[in-house]
Symmetry: C2
Subunit: 295 residues, 2 copies
């Protein structure tokens, strides 16, 4: 695999990748890179042997390694690519973990004027409400999907190496084009998060007036779990993928208007059909989710 790696951004994702690689390949040397304000987090990462050492010097971090893994919030890519650009090497493989891919490609284009052949854009579909290396775990990607979104110019050797890296730590890799990735994630992840934030924003204000949360049950707890996600990270994702998210939000309000109309006109038949279709569709999701997670 790789002998020496640099992880830029040793948080939940970067830290979990580093831990998993250390577990599989104890001899791989891993350097963490962060900003001076990340020192406490990087100290934890070193104490837990998630990384071997860390530096705040980008040149020292990325010039002596075989592979650079970018695991910072998607909003930080333009600045980060600018930092990396002077030291870019054709002999190193670069990859990332950003949850929106169009914005990553765009930031890369702006800085480099093209997408370097040895940059392999990727996105592990794993995460949690927690953040920081303290929440990292070596098995975070086990039985999880990773989407690689190669471009026509991406070096196949680099891509294969990144694919094998993910597979070696338990993930299943799919290939997808950038646009398709962003559309799928907007639907299955970004839209649900915005919806959960919207609902809890609305109900939180009612709760302040009428103390309604006292009567909310376990179903509400699960439904709103993703509203506990990090606001900074989600602002970033929403901005990065707004072209895909905004039309979906529009589709959803159309759907809600439709249900409101069925309700007000007492259209039992179509309301029942909608609920039944949804229940069956969720079962279809569940069957494949559980089959996959039992692999």
């Amino acid at each position: 695999m790789f002998n020496k790696l640099c992880v830029i951004g040793v948080g939940l994702i970067g830290g979990s990748i580093a831990s998993a690689i250390k577990q599989q390949f104890p001899n791989t040397e891993i350097i963490g890179f962060g900003r001076p304000e990340d020192r406490a987090n990087l100290e934890i990462a070193r104490q837990r042997a998630v990384i071997d050492r860390f530096t705040f010097d980008i040149k020292a971090a990325i010039t002596s390694v075989d592979c650079v893994i970018i695991a910072v919030p998607v909003g930080s890519y333009p600045a980060l690519f600018s930092q990396i650009q002077p030291f870019w090497s054709d002999h190193i493989i670069y990859t990332d973990t950003g949850s929106t891919k169009g914005s990553v490609i765009e930031a890369c284009l702006q800085v480099f004027g093209k997408i370097p052949d040895n940059f392999v854009p990727a996105h592990p579909i794993a995460g949690a409400e927690q953040s920081g290396v303290a929440a990292a775990k070596a098995d975070l990607f086990k039985h999880k999907r990773v989407i690689i979104t190669p471009l026509s110019t991406t070096d196949p050797v680099a891509m294969t190496k990144i694919k094998e890296l993910w597979e070696s730590i338990g993930a299943q890799v799919s290939l997808m084009d950038v646009q398709q990735h962003d559309a799928v994630l907007a639907a299955t992840s970004h839209l649900p998060h915005i919806l959960a934030f919207a609902l809890v924003d609305l109900l939180g204000r009612k709760d302040e007036q009428a103390d309604i949360f006292k009567y909310a049950a376990g179903g509400f707890k699960d439904f709103t779990r993703i509203a506990s996600s990090d606001p900074t990270m989600w602002l970033d994702i929403c901005m990065a993928n707004k072209a895909q998210i905004a039309p979906l939000l529009q589709e959803l309000t159309t759907e809600l208007n439709k249900l409101q109309h069925f309700l007000e006109t007492e259209d039992h038949k179509r309301l029942f059909e909608t609920f039944t279709y949804a229940r069956n569709a969720r079962q279809r999701f569940l069957d494949q989710f559980e089959t996959y997670n039992q692999l």
Copy 2:
């Protein structure tokens, strides 16, 4: 407590009440009542000693007991009240478990012309996606809230007896007026369910075209859990409480339009404020939910 009870509708809720009472008061005799098509379910209830016996004869079911507990879907109340009405007795306490209270009062008024003093409307806030007596359990109401919605005419003695019945099986009882109950439940339960059905309906259709569920993760699983609820029951609830639900749906679409606008105009500040408010509000819910559930 009561020496002899009738449970009308021995499903998840009715069966769990019967089980819990049997556990606390082994000498209480419990008669189950259902329709002939419920025979298989009632047989299971009797085999598991959730009830002592069952009958399809309403007169035999309700005339020799101290207390009648109605635990049928809210849409069945008008027909059920009509069946009960000829045998109504001033010496029996009647209560129910319906998740909407305005519709129950309305059905009662239509059949009786008034709300009998010895009818105590109640609603245990507990349940699950499952239904039927096979899913019933004696501890379903432990540390759960039950809302009683007495009217000005409700007999205080009857109300106290029902309150004590719930407390004896582990629930914490609150009193609320009918309208407030329906508003609170519309917000914390009915709206989230419709939202989950709406989202999965929308995405299920996309999945049929583009196989998106394959890339949905654990957050999506939790967010959509309530979309696996019983469509018949939820059609019933939606119709019974549509006066409260429809305006909330309207408020939610306004909220979603607002977020869509923040997104399209790149209003970072207000989007961040919304996400942050929601995350904090959910923490407020969680703190009280968890404190309560550890009692």
